[in-house]
Amino acid sequence: MRVTTKKSLRDLRRSRAQVIAVTITIMLGVMLYVATAGAFQNLTASYQHTYDRLNFATYVGTGGTADDVASAAAAAGAADAIPRAQYDPPMLIDNTKLVGRVIGMPVDGQPAVNSVDVVDGGYFDADATDQALIETHAADTFGIGPGDTVKVYGGDGWHEVTIVGVAISAEYLWPARNRQSVLGDPHAFAVLFLPSDTVAQWFGPDNQALVMMPDQLTTSSTNDVTQAMTDAGATDIQTWEEQPSHATLNEDLKGFDQMSKAFPALFLLAAAIASYVMLARRILMERPVIATLMAAGARRGRILRMYLLQGLVVGTLGGFLGVVIGALASGAVTTAYTGGLGIPDTVIKNYPWMIVVGLAFGVLVGAMGAFFPALSASRTKPAEAMHTAAPTRAPGPWSRLVARMRWLPVATRMALRDVGRSPRRTLATMLGAILSLVLVLASVGMMTSIVQAIQIQYTDIELQDATVVIEDGVDAASTVGSVDGVAAVERTTMGRVTAQANGHSYVTTLRGFESNTAMHQFKMTDGALTSLPPSGVLAGAPIATLLNVEAGDTITLSTESGTSEVTIAGFVDEPLGTFLYATNDVASSAVDETGLSSYDLAFRDGVDRDAMRQHISQLDGVVGYQDARAVVTSLQQYLGLFWAFIGVMIILGGALALAVMYVTLAVNIVERTGELATLRASGVPVRKVAGTITIENVIATALGIPFGVALGTLAAAWFLSTFSSDLFTFHLMWSWWVPWVAAAGVLIASALSRIPAARAVRKVDVATVVRERAT
């Protein structure tokens, strides 16, 4: 081994504590990258494996004649295209009435597109008419399986079907009714697969065309096939990426993708800074040695490489550990995620390129941190070998200013001046605080914003406690209005429409309310409250972009029974879903007649919600019931892993702050060993000496806080914007105290540096320092 390499390794060993802190920071950054990016790749592969296996439709066309649309797609080059029937009738499952979904399936075998995975029981008998497969989420929610019976309401009344199997469907990996209702009461939605002839007999003809392209998961939404479908009469074509289940799950995946880039970057930046501070300090201390080497004729390149090597060793070590732990964590995260959400296929792979990138990150960070100090070392003038100590610099304006602040305790004055004494160290501490705040505020901001969004949706906007679906002709006021505990009943209207304008279309739900409704509050995008327009509609804010329209524009609403035109009166800002709202009169003239009516209910305070569900569901004429508050349960499941991830991020944010501050603190102590030894020799207690260093650390941290809060706020807003779509509209919302608490947390972490500071000060060998300075 070369002597220069030996020196580098021994130098690292002498700075063990700082090397460990920097290595851990690099390791955390690389580990986060490999774990989250790996989980993202694995989850994407897991979904794709399921989609491949179950022939997930590339396009679903609605409108026109399904058979014609499917034939046109097949003729235009689709790999497979089939017509299918899908209806949303009332159901009675385990004494719960709900509006579910039935999907027609051939009895002679699985369909060529959107097949299902029967995980319990079996597929239909060849001559089945009253058999059903139940989608796995509903089976779990209601605790039913093969052999049980359920009732569906179709055509002439209730029909009983027997469950023969429990099935997983790629369309319902996340059980979303549509893009406007991706989060719903789990007891208010169930999917049954029925023989297609039975669906035709009870509900109606095929109304969807399922199309699978040769390159199944194509991202193209316009091509010959979609054009042929449109020409054949399809009014809306939903791509696989827009499919509600996939789109919802993809929001989570997008989160992984964003975090796999942004959060590791924070750690690696912090690690580079810590590495820089550590090496810069070493080189400062070794200037006479370096100058001696230079005086002896050492080449600059050799000096540069000698110190660069130290950064590379630390970077490689951190990178290697990060890759190993990250690869293991990636598999664990993937398994936890697919297990938690019931994704049937779990694909766990090691991605060689990711390992290479992870290692490269580590090496690069180490090299970046070491480069400038090493360059500075290589430029040391040989004459500096003659200096035994750095000459004392004259005090600058800052020092002179602080000297006049006699009203401050002298220890504070010293700390204030020390902040300016080593700008590099102060900047590093500030950056540690800034990066920690960015990490913590971005995580907390997402969490509080989502929680507040739910709060707003279900306390400020959706004011009803439940929605019931009642057969037409039944007197709602006497049926549900007289139930003890019901405070108010209002008729509502609900129907699926395809909104079209400027060559764009968007399938959504048109909801109608009484003009002076007390069940829904309409908040405009400018924050003002409004009421329903007498004519025209209010639209969810994303529609402005989706259809390229603005207030006052006219849009076309298409249903199976025809089209109508309405004017957009304004846009509402709602966190969940993108709906159209109108008065009942306007809405009922635009949506299809179903023979059913819906009503929103408001309960008196303190009612037992489960008892209300049980009671109202049993009433004659009631065919569906949805508890508005039960959505929160569903949401918690959706966000469960997200919370865990954010919790880990907050912990890591604290670790990041501590790691960077520890390195700068250690460097501070090493640079000031003589001063500290003098204070100790004068009988100053360890805790007091540590206190003076801590004050400096806290001041430097405090200087970083305004920047950290500002950047953390921007980062949180940016992260939220990546989650926003027509499914969710999130704005950054947090209580006024959140930034203060985050800042206080970082300051406390900084103040905690007193503990390692005291330990380090205790380790300062006063006698050795004094002896080394004696001749």
């Binding site: 004392t392 610099r393 010293m414 001046r417 020390d418 009988g683 360890v686 004094v770 300075r773």
Partner: protein, 239 residues
């Protein structure tokens, strides 16, 4: 400071060994030494003789490997670091060759910081100390704005901040020229005249002329401890 305070120093069979096994260095090999209250003793010896180690053991910043160390009437041989710190605070003041002033603090603040952190004395005392070392007019100067002699005088004032019984000066003139060195030695003589025990560690035999007693240390042992019958004034010292 009261005249009756015990400011004596007693070392009995003190040894100090650094390292272990073949690498062991025996810095002190059974040193016996008594310094009476109010004495001014110069410990003389070449580099590596063990004189600084002896000074450090007396000051309680280093512990003896064996033997008994009694300072100002207290046996500090087996004390833990925290109680040694308290001992130093109450009894000992250090003066170093390179002053060890905190460069970011003014002369006044270099003294004030000790008072603040040890909790001994009030800031009003700072002015008295600066006046005592003749630097009242340079109180607000930073070390970089002071000469070497002035810096060492600040260091002396700092050492006096806790009103110690014993002053330990390790090569106090080592970084100073002759006139400045004389001023510092004169200051130490004055402090000794006030009743403090002063121990000056140096390799400069000329400094020994101001002592009451000269202890010569060679290779970790006391070679001689001679009384100086006619100490001279610091102003007359030459080297």
């Amino acid at each position: 400071m009261t005249a009756s305070t015990d400011r004596s120093i007693r070392l009995a069979g003190v040894t100090k060994t650094f390292g272990e096994g073949d690498a062991a260095v025996h810095a002190l090999k059974g040193v016996d030494l008594e310094i009476a209250s109010g004495e001014l003793v110069v410990v003389l010896g070449p580099s590596g003789s063990g004189k600084t180690t002896m000074c450090n053991i007396i000051g309680g910043i280093e512990t003896a490997t064996a033997g008994t160390v009694q300072i100002a009437g207290e046996d500090i041989s087996d004390r833990k670091p925290a109680t040694l710190s308290a001992f130093r605070r109450d009894h000992v003041g250090f003066i170093f060759q390179f002053f060890n002033l905190i460069p970011t603090l003014t002369a006044r603040e270099n003294i004030e910081i000790i008072l603040a952190l040890t909790g001994k004395g009030s800031s009003a005392r700072v002015e008295d100390l600066l006046s005592a070392v003749g630097l009242a007019d340079r109180a607000d100067n930073f070390p970089a704005q002071l000469s070497g002699g002035q810096q060492q005088r600040v260091a002396v004032a700092r050492a006096l901040a806790t009103d110690p019984d014993i002053l330990l000066a390790d090569e106090p003139t080592g970084a100073l020229d002759l006139p400045t060195g004389r001023q510092i030695l004169a200051l130490l003589q004055e402090l000794n005249a006030e009743g403090r025990t002063v121990v000056i560690v140096t390799h400069n035999s000329s400094v020994a002329q101001i002592a009451n007693r000269v202890v010569t240390v060679v290779d970790g042992t006391i070679q001689s401890a001679a009384v100086n019958e006619a100490p001279i004034a610091a102003a007359d010292v030459t080297w």
